[in-house]
Symmetry: C2
Subunit: 274 residues, 2 copies
């Protein structure tokens, strides 16, 4: 099911700047029991991204209504939102008057085995690096070739995520997730000043860590920091939190800090639902 | 007029990975007297880009036929080619079997005043920087938010191009063009190892400079190199070659080396047409 600018259809104009230049934003949202989880956080991030890219944000009441009517009867799914600068002429210059395109689409929820959440995943280090650009860092925009190339590096179904380094050899995030490590009961996650996406679940984890008094720092992290950590995990809005049990040849236990955060996140999600 | 996978239509699937992730390539080609100018060079670049992005390249005979039949009666226009990884599921992982999407579209040729080519343009230095990523550098891919943001920085119709720096303060290219400077009768253009697009017209100029014995170097260029140059110009397949007469507060003459290269390019284009 796809709704484009309020109309049920599944095709867009080829002249849409989302297609021509990746000139837009997206959100990937879990739908559970007829409700889009953390929807206000997702919309706030998209709105913030739209300000940075100077794309007019749609009427929020209208958008909320469209989302509600799309997901209200859905037990479990993924809602993807796309917002682009709309149809424009050839050339990078944006049109004088922008009519943004908004796309709402429903997708089946990926059936990940519950062991991933409980026992952790295997991850790898990707060859493809994240470029450096503070003008785009943090934004969940549609220019995603780096992630596509990184994800194309492996086909082993036992490996569930690849960690990406930036050009300065800092570990930044997974191809589809944010990255955290625990060392001496401190929680660390990379700074996203030059690359990476500021994930909703990343912010939830940081917020809950603060609330529960867990020492937390945004930090430049090297591969060596990763390999010598006590605990590792990745987060996103679909998977929630996956502990990492192995990166390359290095093994890790699913430790107490990770377990605490997992339970805080689960409780917080229940709160969001009520 | 738009032809998508051989069919006259102007809409694509929203699930096309070109729309979802900018997962594709494009070419912008001048059409003159029923012929796509430098078409073999454009197709060779797209093919090389498709290898780097691992997108299967379409049957070349078919593609050439589609292009010929689209442009054969066209006096003067722009042909835009887009090649994407086609429709794929949600998520960065590419489908097992890739059915690429190819889009051919015709656009009116922009009516630039002839004074731009003769007397030169005014340019500016953009605030938005080009990110650094050797995995994508040189490729004319669909992830073009940096150019969109840079082009949105000015509306003054007297300024015809913005020069973009990378994060290391090197001048790399224009928002829609490659950049050259002349100093002491030597021709310089930036290296494109970490960012930038390897333009067809850039390669033509480098090739002709070599043929006619003009000393040429690929070099890291700073803003100071630009401001203290003898001559400056930008190139692309649509504008050909525009001398730069002013960048910010610095003025430049349209010098003899630029004039020579302009005439070499004009002659070379005539050869391509025969």
């Amino acid at each position: 099911m796809v709704i484009i600018n309020g109309v049920k259809q599944h095709r867009i104009e080829v002249a849409d700047r989302g297609y021509q230049y990746g000139d837009g934003l997206f959100e990937t949202i879990e739908v559970e029991q007829g409700k889009a989880v953390f929807i206000q956080q997702h919309l706030a991030r998209m709105k913030s991204g739209s300000h940075r890219l100077q794309i007019p944000f749609p009427d929020e009441e209208l958008l909320n209504e469209e989302i509600s009517s799309l997901v209200c009867d859905v037990p479990h799914a993924i809602l993807k939102l796309i917002l682009t600068r709309g149809v424009g002429g050839r050339g990078y210059r944006q049109p004088e008057i922008i009519h943004p395109t908004r796309v709402l689409s429903l997708h089946s929820f990926p059936e990940y085995p519950s062991t991933l959440k409980k026992q952790g995943i295997k991850a790898r280090i990707c060859q493809c690096r994240l470029g450096l650009n503070p003008f785009l860092a943090g934004i969940k925009h549609l220019n995603r070739l780096e992630q596509v190339l990184a994800r194309s590096e492996w086909r082993d179904p036992d490996i569930h995520e690849g960690l990406m380094l930036d050009l300065n050899d800092n570990v930044i995030e997974g191809t589809m997730s944010n990255f955290f490590l625990v060392k001496n009961n401190q929680l660390y996650t990379p700074k996203l000043d030059y690359s990476g996406v500021e994930g909703i679940m990343r912010n939830v984890v940081l917020q809950l860590a603060k609330k529960f008094g867990l020492d937390t720092a945004l930090k430049q992290l090297t591969q060596q920091d990763v390999f010598s950590a006590d605990e590792l995990f990745v987060t996103n809005s679909v998977i929630g939190l996956w502990p990492i049990k192995k990166v390359e040849q290095y093994s890790f236990g699913v430790g107490p800090v990770t377990r605490h955060i997992q339970s805080w996140v689960d409780d917080y999600k229940k709160l969001d639902r009520t």
